[in-house]
């Protein structure tokens, strides 16, 4: 009789252990699913925030084109052979001088670009901030020659860039505009 009750107790204990093991397996399975979904969500969020960071815009492209064609007061060789901003970027890269102003092309570029951008964005009520980068691109990467950043960005970023060639180097002018419009 005692033997039977002992065997019955052992059987109950084994059943309980089996149930506990099954419960643990379920919990582990659920945790695995949660971890997988969270990882998937994180990957999705990283990709979506990355892509929304740099939206190409026709408006900003037109802005940059108009800026590049704007004639400046800098004449490198003779007056009135004035540089437009596209030529001035090249002159700055080639370390030329504005012979009529007695300034280096880079100093004049920095000064005049700030002034023109300020004038352009004065009419834009929806623009909170803007940034223009003048970069030299080669196999090793990008080197920033000039960066102008004004304002604080609280909205969406729209961008455009143009590439020009100077002395076998590729120059990139990238304009980013932060707009409060979505």
């Amino acid at each position: 009789m005692e033997r039977f009750s002992f065997a019955g107790g052992l059987g109950n204990k084994m059943n309980k252990m089996r149930n506990d093991k099954k419960g643990q397996q379920e919990i582990v399975g659920f945790v695995l699913i949660v971890v997988l979904v969270v990882v998937g969500l994180m990957v999705f969020l990283i990709i979506s925030t990355r892509t929304s960071d740099d939206v190409k815009s026709v408006e900003v492209g037109n802005m940059l084109d108009a800026l590049m064609k704007h004639t400046t007061d800098c004449a490198v060789v003779y007056e009135p052979d004035y540089d437009d901003f596209e030529d001035l970027f090249k002159s700055c890269h080639q370390e030329d001088q504005c012979s009529n102003l007695g300034l280096s092309a880079c100093d004049y570029l920095n000064e005049s670009l700030r002034a023109v951008l300020e004038g352009m964005f004065a009419t834009e009520a929806t623009v909170g901030a803007y940034q223009i980068d003048f970069l030299v691109k080669d196999d090793e990467g990008e080197e920033v020659l000039l960066r102008i950043l004004e304002g604080n960005c609280t909205g969406s970023v729209f961008s455009a860039q143009r590439s020009i060639v100077s002395h076998s180097d590729s120059l990139v002018i990238r304009l980013k505009v932060c707009s409060t419009l979505s």
Binding site: S48, E59, K69, H70, T71, P80
Partner: protein
């Protein structure tokens, strides 16, 4: 008891995935709305190219969004009214952004910076604008060169009962 536990588990997992799905959808739709608005704006700006590239306004046919300042001066002298049937818009205006001026001064006039080319007098119009180059030939020290300045082309489009293009 076991079936109940399983049922609870399935319901919990189902609700979890529903919440994840809703989160995902809300992000997706927010993106779609933003992209649609941006596409509309880009489309409207691209359509301004048709007007900017007209021979009556264009400076250099090989370059888009480049306006001839001398042509603008002529068009402000009442010529724009002749284009009533040609321009399918409510208004066309151009203004210079450089040199910076505190107020718009209507052309023709000394030191003016605002060219009103056409206006059919419609009040219920929605304006679209884009950046352009305003260029002219300038003679200095016996040399002729192209002088371009940054400006804005502003076109008014009839707003048909709140339906925007």
């Amino acid at each position: 008891m076991k079936i109940m536990q399983m049922a609870f588990m399935i319901v919990a997992v189902f609700f979890f995935f529903v919440l994840v799905g809703l989160f995902f959808l809300s992000i997706q739709f927010k993106d779609v709305k933003g992209s649609a608005a941006q596409l509309q704006r880009d489309q409207a700006i691209s359509s301004l190219r048709v007007i900017a590239d007209m021979p009556e306004l264009s400076y250099d046919f090989s370059e888009a969004f480049t306006l001839d300042e001398d042509k603008l001066k002529i068009m402000t002298g009442g010529f724009g009214d002749v284009y009533d049937d040609v321009w399918p818009v409510a208004s066309v205006a151009v203004y210079k952004l450089w040199p910076v001026a505190s107020e718009l001064k209507l052309c023709p006039g000394l030191g003016c910076n605002y060219y009103e080319l056409y206006d059919n007098g419609q009040n219920n119009s929605r304006t679209y604008s884009t950046y352009v180059s305003i260029c002219k030939k300038v003679k200095e020290s016996g040399f002729v060169y192209d002088k371009c300045e940054v400006g804005k082309l502003e076109v008014g489009v009839v707003d048909a009962g709140g339906v925007h293009q």
